[in-house]
Subunit: 200 residues, 2 copies
């Protein structure tokens, strides 16, 4: 049972560092200090290994704890901001495995389903924030709940993060700060009281 963890750990490390190109099964084996075949004793396919790696990552980083402030928020505005903080702050960690999974989506149905499931969870977070705004009557009248959810989901997508960080060279801090402003300006109805978190 220890080998399994060694494999997952090695996979994670390679994916996080992984600038140049694809990570091969052989690379992971080497890093974990075992034979390539031993990988297949624990994970039937590359896709399965990647999926399990994302679950492993969730355990490691206690991803549900990150969402606590968002769930505890009193107002819709606070909830929106807390969610941007929580998920936006988690993206850098998911990005390694996520990139690999997204690359596999073209060819591998298994991987596609797994990744889409995880992204659906994020959508639910978006929806909860939007609904909290709606409940407070601070949701902008420009969008329905569904449209606002879709839009927020797209804004906070891994691809969008990738674009801003890697193509535009933004820092993580700038990303969070700007996404908060953007989310606020987009979804909070004009005239709603200004949240303290948004200062400047």
């Amino acid at each position: 049972m220890q080998t399994r963890s060694k494999i997952l750990q090695a996979t994670l490390e390679l994916l996080e560092a992984g600038e140049g190109g694809e990570i091969r099964m052989g690379d992971i084996a080497k890093r974990a200090g075992i034979s390539r075949q031993a990988l297949y004793l624990h994970f039937a396919t590359r896709a399965e290994l990647l999926v399990e790696t994302t679950f492993y990552l969730d355990e490691l980083s206690e991803s549900d704890k990150r969402l606590e402030p968002s769930r505890k928020a009193k107002t819709g505005i606070e909830r929106l901001e807390a969610f941007v903080d929580a998920w936006g702050g988690y993206i850098p960690a998911v990005y390694g495995p996520g990139r690999a999974m997204m690359a596999m989506m073209e060819t591998d149905d298994e991987a596609a389903k797994a990744w889409n499931q995880r992204m659906q969870d994020v959508r639910e977070g978006c929806e909860a924030a939007i609904k909290a705004l709606k409940k407070d009557k601070t949701l902008s009248p420009a969008y329905s709940i569904n449209d606002a959810t879709d839009l927020l989901w797209a804004m906070l997508s891994v691809r969008n993060w990738e674009q801003l960080i890697h193509q535009s060279g933004w820092t993580q801090k700038k990303y969070i700060k700007t996404m908060k402003i953007l989310a606020y300006n987009t979804f909070v109805a004009a005239g709603a009281e200004i949240s303290k978190g948004i200062s400047k």
Copy 2:
């Protein structure tokens, strides 16, 4: 010289239809009605073929003509809207080849450079629109020119379109309409006169 066109046409057709998985060199050859090896007589690598296909597509759809209304716009606000119309309307056509190119970016430097170059062109379009707003003093004070450009670029990215159309199931019409509203609300300073184009 005719074979070359047949190849490019076949590639385009396959990429446009291409729902299921990757398009192989053999598939393209079959579709074009020639041998797989003949492809390599015209294009050294798969990456090169894809790059040339995007240029071919530009010719076919007279992509520069699409941008004319944007360049001719009198006000910054009009220019922003026209640009969203032009590029947003072109995305469905680029998406087929684009998806293939983006998938190759992980592994192929050549493809990555070519696609990034094309996306850089889009960025210039974004920048021009933002600068036009700035010139009119209708750019929202929340963002610098660079940040606004990066943000608009991300909003109008192919990935964002993909997310909204394929994950959220939006129609193209809804996409254009909503992106216009979003761009307007985000980048146009409060108090600036309302453009006719944005009506409902």
